[in-house]
């Protein structure tokens, strides 16, 4: 019977669908898929610049690192988000049932300051990350 069903599992790659659900998820996946393709190009350029050492290739390598840098930002944000989730069992940065969260608060009160520091952590980390990108771009400008 199963052949008669419409089964397109495993073949639904259209990420735009995600944009209607959650923009963060969409950006996360969209950038990740580009970075996968782009990473091999970037790797080739970096290796080439290490081997030959020409100035043009060096600049290209810096530029490709800068692009990879930008593309992995949503991934990195996701990775940083795990820390508050793990430390608070899903309370900070999670999407748990809102009534449950109030109930949990009455059972195991956690200090709001602690929670807001944890919730701010991924954003802080991303700011540092972007600052480093600025440094990289400065290096690129110097190289040019």
């Amino acid at each position: 019977m199963a052949e008669e069903y419409l089964d397109i599992r495993g073949r639904r790659r259209n990420l735009l669908r995600l944009a209607r659900i959650n923009l963060t998820s969409f950006l996360h996946l969209f950038f990740y898929r580009i970075v996968i393709l782009f990473s091999i190009i970037a790797a080739a350029i970096i290796i080439a610049s290490m081997v030959s050492g020409g100035q043009f290739l060096d600049i290209l390598a810096y530029a490709s690192i800068a692009i990879v840098w930008l593309l992995v930002t949503p991934q990195l944000f996701g990775t940083f988000k795990v820390l508050p989730i793990v430390l608070t069992n899903g309370e900070a940065m999670g999407r748990l049932n809102s009534s449950f969260l109030k109930f949990k608060e009455s059972v195991m009160p956690t200090s709001p300051a602690y929670k807001s520091i944890l919730a701010a952590f991924p954003y802080m980390a991303i700011i540092v990350w972007i600052a480093l990108l600025a440094l990289l771009l400065a290096m690129l400008a110097v190289a040019l």
Binding site: E4, N97, K102, F103
Partner: protein
């Protein structure tokens, strides 16, 4: 002919059905082949909608509670129509069942000491309703389903609709099920069968029950000529959300919610002085309707329904978030009302059917006045052991499902282990039965019928809402019976527009509507005969309870197109009927 042979066939996958499957499997150490048939996905049965909790005396010594007190409350709640031997079985086994559900993973709400919390409930003198927030039924269903998955001997047939069963020579032989996925029929033969298909609340339009609570198993028994008991007793839950009919749990009042009329009075003061909002459901429902009829209700503009208000504003917000999160979720999503800030519009809606298949205290289905069918049991809402009598107390239904799920599962397993193979005679009748049933399905789909099932159902809803609601009138019931008889004969020539073989819900709906109309007809016929007011059955002309004439169960049997009726004794052990005041 596709034939599936098993040892135990369980029709219905609610709490009773799945409990039975688990206990039968456990008892036989996973040897018996158990086949669980559900017309939905097994974990989606209507038991998931049970909210408030499950009753049972857990910490009797701490609360000054005892099973006897629980039994007395239940009997008094039932307006003394409950069979007291059955009630004693219920109260004795209920704590054991709560314990079992604890072991299989229900996340019971806990007190600070780590024991299971219990809350007050309508008609209960002591808080003895164990709960898991207000999703108790859901958590119990999930725990049962998950536990069931650990048994390799259980085959779950999701989305199979059982259209009829073969009972011959006083013995259950087989059932015929249609697979909704491809509309193929199969015969399920078994040594023991348990019917646990739930109630028929959908004979009403404004109801808290799921769209799937269509009493298929009850109609199945009725059409096989088996007796039904106390079909006239239909419980109306006082607090069904206006306009959708979604259930707002009694726990909302158990945790301290008030019922207010248009003037803002706690009107229950007038009707049940000591218990107030926590009087049994029949009394609260009648009080609400009396208030509305006296012009103290509020008209809901969009739906045209009059209602009263359930006020939770004075409750601690923490109580709502811990113990009533689902009430908040439902009101927010359905009518965009936050119970913290606004009262909830409610009115009585059909909720539970006390009546059902006539069974004894072991859940064995009666064949006639004395004998029972060999190899056939029924449990849960589809059965009428009569622990609920004329009116069920809140939270006793989950106990009943669990207790009789275990009893019937155990009995069915014992029977299946001792019973021999089917005889050649049975094999022949199974072949004939399959042919007949196949023919019937073909006839239904390709016959010359012209009646649209949905129109038929709407007409039935209109009749039931008008004449069989909280207050019933003799004249109205007479008219209802007459019109339902007509609908019943019309339901034989239903036309099914959808001819598809794959997941044909039009076909399933037609079968369900046929069951519903038959049951509505039976319920009305029984109600018309009972000339008294008892529990949920309130007749305007006979407003008093009449123990001399009517302390007896109504038994209804199919006699051609009409309903044959006789009566059976109520078993009374410890508690003599007395005046019912709260």
């Amino acid at each position: 002919m596709e034939r599936r042979e098993c040892d135990i066939l369980i029709i219905g996958s609610g709490i009773a059905g799945m409990s039975a499957a688990i206990h039968a499997s456990h008892l036989s150490k996973g040897k018996l082949r158990v086949c669980l048939v559900s017309k939905l996905h097994a974990m989606r049965s209507h038991s998931v909608s049970a909210e408030g909790g499950i009753s049972g005396v857990l910490y009797g010594s701490e609360n000054n509670d005892s099973p006897d007190m629980h039994a007395y409350d239940t009997v008094k709640g039932s307006d003394f129509l409950a069979d007291q031997d059955a009630v004693e079985i219920l109260v004795k086994n209920a704590p054991k069942e709560i314990e079992f559900f604890d072991h299989i993973g229900v996340p019971w709400s806990r007190t600070g000491k780590g024991s299971i919390s219990q809350r007050p409930f309508g008609g209960m003198t002591i808080p003895r309703t164990a709960f898991a927030a207000d999703k108790t039924g859901f958590f119990m269903m999930r725990a049962l389903y998950d536990e069931l998955l650990s048994y390799g001997n259980v085959e779950i047939l999701h989305e199979h609709y059982v259209t009829s069963m073969l009972v011959k020579r006083g013995k259950f032989i087989c059932a015929y099920a249609v697979n909704l996925a491809d509309r193929s029929g199969k015969v399920l033969s078994a040594k023991s069968c348990i019917i646990a298909t739930g109630g028929y609340g959908r004979i009403f339009n404004f109801t808290t029950t799921a769209h799937s609570s269509t009493g298929d198993g009850v109609a199945l028994a009725y059409n096989s000529g088996l007796p039904l008991k106390d079909m006239e007793f239909i419980q109306f839950h006082p607090t069904a959300l206006v306009p959708t009919g979604v259930l707002i749990t009694e726990a909302a009042r158990g945790e301290g919610g008030y019922l207010l009329n248009a003037k803002g009075e706690r009107f229950m003061e007038r009707y049940a002085k000591s218990k107030m909002e926590l009087a049994p459901r029949d009394i609260v429902s009648r009080s609400i309707i009396t208030e509305i009829q006296a012009g103290r209700g509020i008209l809901h503009e969009e739906s045209g329904l009059s209602h009263v208000l359930l006020d939770l504003r004075h409750l601690d917000p923490e109580v709502i978030d811990e113990k009533l999160p689902m009430v908040k979720e439902l009101t927010m999503k359905n009518i965009n009302v936050d119970p913290h800030n606004e009262p909830i519009p409610v009115r009585p809606g059909a909720h539970y059917t006390m009546g059902g298949i006539h069974v004894d205290v072991h859940g064995r289905v009666f064949l006639d006045e004395k004998r029972s069918v060999a190899g056939l049991w029924s449990a849960g809402e589809s059965a009428c052991v009569s622990v609920h009598g004329a009116n069920r107390l809140g939270s006793n239904s989950l106990s009943e499902c669990a207790v009789w799920g275990r009893i019937t599962g155990t009995e069915a397993a014992r029977h299946a282990m001792s019973a021999g193979q089917n005889s050649a005679l049975d094999a022949k009748s199974i072949g004939d039965f399959y042919g007949e049933e196949d023919e019937k399905i073909y006839e239904l789909l390709n016959g010359s019928g012209s009646v649209n099932p949905y129109k038929l159902r709407d007409e039935m809803h209109g009749i039931m809402e008008k004449h069989m609601y909280v207050y019933r009138k003799v004249g109205g019931m007479k008219e209802a019976k007459k019109r339902l008889a007509k609908l019943y004969s019309m339901s034989k020539s239903i036309c099914i527009e959808d001819k598809s073989t794959v997941y044909n819900t039009n076909f399933r709906d037609a079968l369900e509507i046929k069951s519903l109309i038959a049951l509505a007809y039976v319920a009305t016929s029984c109600a018309l005969e009972r000339k008294e007011s008892r529990g949920a059955h309130a007749v305007v002309e006979h407003s008093e309870r009449d123990d001399r004439k009517w302390l007896k169960h109504t038994i209804a049997v199919k006699r051609g197109d009409s309903v044959g009726m006789y009566y059976s004794q109520v078993s009374i052990t410890k508690w003599k009927p007395e005046k019912r005041v709260y």
